[in-house]
């Protein structure tokens, strides 16, 4: 019997931030051939910032995303620092690092507890009506509460420093708006012990839970790629600054020091005819061999060490999972938890230094350069803002490369791998949908960000014949 070739579309993929859609192409033999994303909307940040004063960029760009506004705030402010061509006060750098780490904690907590824990705790085949944070609240109230409290820990620090949790306004070109008071510092330090207890408890549970997900670990985007992330002079992951390091799947450092301003020589953007999202690749290896991943998994793969006691121990165990680099995207979850632990310990270290209370936190200047690039680590991976301005300081051109975009190739390939393993026959089955969706959630793609230009991305599963006719379709939402 000849199996009808089909295409599968999942629309929208849920419990990711934003709105996405996947299409899986089946060949003549009914075997999965390809997988890709569709984008249908436009917001247009690169365009409407043209003609606006560069100082507005941090506040304006924060609106790209309500999940990681701080990342865009930081990358935009760093690009503006480059336009001013000033050295910003060391305490301002430390304070920006603090708000950035707080955001990594809150965003990772949202990803793990609110969005992914329902799959992990209730099982991927659990009734979808209950398979959400509210279902977790009923069955595992302690864990759900831990998640809510951990996210609050991060959000609270952002609010204390920036005035509000979403789109805060404290980070500005040249530094930050206001120094940290001793009272605030102590307030933050007082919340650290509880956050630490929560993350240690969660890691203990997750390490044992990973045992039951062997099939998913083997098939969730488990393939060799390059990894890219910022590291500091000690070889630790650096979320704010540092040099961009690239390692291969064997863990060899193949590039160790790409400067923000030279990103264009190393990161190319390939446009595939069927896809709506650009696919960045590492230029020296070409397309598609230059496929790379960013974000928690990549950052822990490129690092040489973590100089915080608990995080170091956990990271060492993580690195044991792969011969050189850890390949399965399922381990993004584990990496995310380790990063939460690292950031909480590091927050304590940084806040305990007396110079954090220094009053000099902003440098003032007129623009001294017509072009500036800001590079930092967002929760989901390396983020780049690049602006050009005229003599009046008005933006004439902007380019943004965001974390979810970097992972686009790897996400597509991951969906393909999971689809090949879980798609059986010519029917759209619930367990298959759940797993294909769960692969996407490993990357925690932020579709508001990745489609900053393009708005949102309904992700839908559709069965389409080799000649292009839609034979079956599941749409959600």
């Amino acid at each position: 019997m000849k199996v009808m070739p089909k295409q599968i579309v999942i629309d929208p993929v849920t419990r990711i931030e934003g709105h996405g859609r996947i299409t899986i192409q089946l060949g003549d033999d009914g075997v999965v051939q390809d997988a890709h994303f569709h984008v249908t909307q436009l917001r247009g940040f690169e365009k409407f910032c043209e003609g606006r004063p560069f100082e507005e960029m941090p506040s304006l760009m924060a609106r790209i995303c309500g999940i990681c506004p701080v990342s865009h705030l930081i990358a935009a402010a760093k690009a503006c620092d480059a336009l001013l061509a000033v050295r910003i006060p060391p305490t301002a750098i430390q304070l920006r690092r603090i708000i950035n780490m707080a955001q990594i904690v809150q965003s990772h907590a949202l990803s793990f507890f609110h969005l992914s824990s329902p799959d992990l705790l209730l099982g991927m085949d659990f009734d979808p009506v209950q398979r959400n944070i509210f279902g977790v609240l009923q069955r595992y109230p302690d864990l759900a509460r831990d998640g809510i409290r951990l996210r609050r820990f991060g959000q609270q620090i952002i609010e204390w420093l920036g005035g509000k949790r979403i789109h805060p306004s404290w980070v500005v070109p040249g530094g930050v708006n206001e120094p940290l008071t001793e009272q605030r510092r102590n307030q933050i330090l007082a919340t650290i012990p509880e956050a630490l207890e929560i993350i240690v408890r969660t890691l203990d549970w997750f390490r044992t839970a990973m045992g039951i997900f062997q099939e998913e670990i083997a098939t969730f985007a488990n393939f060799p790629t390059l990894y890219m992330g910022l590291v500091n002079e000690d070889g630790e992951p650096d979320y704010y600054d540092g040099r961009l390091r690239v390692v291969d799947s064997a863990g060899n450092v193949i590039n160790d020091g790409i400067e923000a301003a030279e990103y264009h020589d190393y990161i190319g953007e390939y446009v595939e005819p069927h896809s709506f999202l650009k696919s960045p690749f590492y230029i020296p290896l070409g397309y598609p061999e230059g496929i790379y991943r960013v974000g928690p998994l990549a950052r822990l793969n490129v690092a040489d060490r973590l100089n915080e006691p608990k995080a170091y121990e956990e990271w060492s165990a993580f690195r044991e999972l792969g011969r050189r680099a850890v390949q399965s995207s399922f381990y993004y979850h584990y990496a995310r938890l380790i990063e939460i632990l690292f950031c909480i310990e590091r927050l304590r270290t940084r806040l305990s230094r007396p110079d954090i209370l220094n009053k000099h936190v902003r440098a003032y200047a007129e623009p001294n350069s017509f072009e500036g690039v800001g590079m930092s680590e967002a929760p989901r991976g390396m983020l780049l803002h690049h602006y050009k301005i005229d003599e009046q300081g008005l933006v004439t051109w902007a380019n943004l490369i965001i974390a979810t975009g970097h992972n686009n190739l790897a996400m597509n390939r991951g969906v393909l791998q999971a689809a090949k393993h879980f798609v059986k026959g010519n029917k759209i089955e619930e367990p298959m949908l759940n797993r294909v969706e769960a692969v996407i959630r490993c990357y925690d793609p932020c579709l508001s960000c990745s489609t900053h230009a393009i708005g949102k991305m309904p992700l839908h599963v559709q069965l389409v014949s080799a000649d292009g006719g839609i034979l079956d379709e599941i749409k959600r939402g």
């Binding site: 849920t14 909307q41 609106r63 005035g163």
Partner: protein, 263 residues
């Protein structure tokens, strides 16, 4: 099988149009209140948090984002038909959002600059607020919204009363927190006098002028403020125009004011 006593909880749905997700995440930010909310209502449609979609009609629909595609223009009609009350949350849903800046330009410039094959993009010429398409029961302002105001709106609608949210300006919030006026004290241009309260006057407390995240207050005197900026602070016309072209550029009051500064 024993028949279960079914408690009928009011059904809440959250809908996303073109936006950054920040406003609907304010619901997850409610933390302790979230636990209470989860007890009091049935979350019938909240794709950010759950895959399951419970069938309508819904007692309360929260709508985030602006309408930017033909598909969305149809979808909002469907949402309205299924909803007893419909409340817009945030600047995108209430005023078209930052993406409404394209309403003042040619949208083709946008699609071609960011995407090499723009024919795949189905987009409307304008990014419009929900109220341009359907009847809206209440508009909650802000970029993003204030979560306590969100809790107030939910509780008001579920209890059949009017939300208790003051429609006055950011100036009132500065006075209440004892922040010195940045305009009179430092000559910093500030949109506070015409901007809806709700943020707690954050920017002036950092010595910055308000940039209008919450959109126009009730009966804003934008003309007077612009003249004041011009005469007393020496702000140029093009800068006045740009000040109104922010997250709420397409709200009536701000749009009319910015257009009056176009040549």
């Amino acid at each position: 099988m024993a028949k279960k006593v079914v408690k009928t909880k009011p059904k809440l749905a959250v809908w996303k149009f073109a936006s950054c997700d920040g406003c609907q995440l304010s619901l997850l930010d409610c933390e302790d209140e979230l636990l209470a909310v989860a007890d009091a209502i049935e979350i019938a449609n909240f794709l950010e948090a759950s895959r399951a979609v419970v069938k309508g009609p819904y007692d309360l629909s929260l709508v985030e984002g602006s309408v930017t595609t033909p598909h969305d223009a149809e979808r909002i009609q469907q949402v309205r038909r299924e909803s007893r009350y419909l409340v817009t949350i945030g600047a995108c849903a209430t005023a078209g959002g930052i993406q409404a800046l394209r309403n003042f330009a040619d949208v083709k410039q946008y699609t071609s600059i960011v995407y090499p094959t723009p024919q795949y993009i189905q987009t409307l010429k304008k990014s419009t607020p929900i109220t341009d398409h359907v009847f809206v029961d209440y508009e909650l302002r802000g970029c993003p919204i204030n979560k306590m105001q969100l809790v107030e709106v939910i509780s008001a609608f579920l209890n059949g009363r009017k939300p208790n949210i003051a429609p006055n300006s950011v100036c009132m919030e500065c006075k209440r927190r004892g922040t010195v006026c940045v305009m009179t004290a430092y000559g910093t241009p500030c949109l506070g006098p015409v901007t809806h309260a709700g943020c707690g006057a954050i920017c002036p407390s950092y010595d910055r002028g308000c940039y209008g995240c919450y959109g126009p207050k009730e009966t804003p005197n934008t003309t007077s403020l612009s003249e004041w900026w011009n005469a007393k602070l020496g702000v140029k016309n093009e800068d006045i125009l740009r000040a109104y072209r922010g997250f709420n550029a397409y709200s009536d009051a701000f749009r009319r004011q910015s257009e009056s500064y176009e040549k």
